[in-house]
């Protein structure tokens, strides 16, 4: 855990952008799977930055800090950046599979994974609920299970 927390509305702002990207990708996927592949590919790159460098370093994170946050009242409390960063890594996996699906003509595969990613982004943006974080303990339980 780092000494300085982040504004919890930052990751929610990022999740809102993410949910719009996946929604547009889904709407275009039947008529133009190539465009959908580009959208989910860009989203995968954003997730990769968030997972690799931290959620404060993504373009949406920087935009939030420089443009959105100065217009808001200070947050009631700060948040540890590690949970949303982990969730970005989970999102990256889904975005990559969706991109491969759209790019290779397995459009339904792409749509299903884009759908899952949309659900996770929606829960984060609307309810402030981090699905990727929650999967972490379930993953640890399964991984650490004695044979």
């Amino acid at each position: 855990m780092t000494a300085t927390g982040i504004d919890p509305r930052g990751p929610r702002f990022t999740a809102t952008v993410t949910l719009v990207v996946f929604a547009v990708a889904l709407l275009l996927s039947d008529a133009a799977p190539g465009v959908a592949a580009v959208l989910t590919g860009v989203q995968a790159a954003l997730f990769a930055i968030g997972a690799g460098l931290g959620v404060q370093k993504t373009p949406t994170g920087l935009f939030f800090r420089s443009v959105v946050r100065p217009r808001l009242t200070p947050p009631a409390e700060l948040e540890d950046p590690a949970p949303p960063r982990f969730a970005q890594a989970v999102g990256l996996v889904f975005a990559v599979v969706a991109t491969i699906g759209f790019a290779t003509g397995a459009v339904l595969l792409g749509q299903v994974f884009a759908g899952f990613a949309f659900v996770a982004a929606f829960l984060n943006a609307v309810f402030g609920f981090c699905l990727g974080c929650e999967m972490y303990l379930l993953g640890a339980r399964l991984r650490g299970r004695p044979a």
Binding site: L26, E79, G115, F118, L123, V126, A140
Partner: protein
């Protein structure tokens, strides 16, 4: 309706339903455990103490919180439970890192973090809540004592 739009609509319905459900049940202490699977002399505390020999049982109640690294609401829960333990005599707060104690997590069937178990003075589980509980929810679930009633 084409498949892309159909999946988007389904995803919205699933997300709204799941989100509202979670908002309703999060932090709610849901009564006593259905069936006391453990023999009388073995309580939840026996298992907790085996994993954490340093831990001490509260005289009135013990708030056992399971946390993990990638868990934003764990922090809120820690603040609430530590405050309750400080203000009320005989109430102890114990935070356990779920990843470090996966055997205990499986034994007590903890599925999410934060999960808070409330133990009675004998170390038996009275109730538990998954998700961050509010202060009033914790206070309402505490066993009564002479000082407060």
């Amino acid at each position: 309706m084409n498949p892309g739009l159909l999946i988007l609509v389904l995803a919205v319905v699933v997300a709204v339903g799941f989100g509202l459900h979670r908002r309703r049940v999060d932090g709610r202490f849901a009564g006593a455990p259905a069936a006391p699977a453990q023999p009388a002399e073995e309580t939840v505390w026996t298992s907790v103490a085996a994993a954490l020999p340093e831990a001490e049982l509260g005289e009135r109640a013990t708030l056992v919180q399971f946390s993990s690294a990638f868990c934003a609401p764990c922090r809120t829960t820690r603040v609430v439970l530590a405050d309750v333990a400080e203000r009320y005599d005989g109430v102890a707060h114990l935070e356990i890192d779920a990843e470090q104690h996966l055997d205990l997590v499986r034994e007590l069937d903890v599925r999410r973090t934060p999960t808070t178990l409330i133990l009675d003075p004998a170390g038996r589980e009275l109730t538990r809540a998954a998700g961050a509980p509010r202060r009033e929810q914790v206070l309402a679930a505490l066993p009564t004592s002479e000082e407060t009633r």
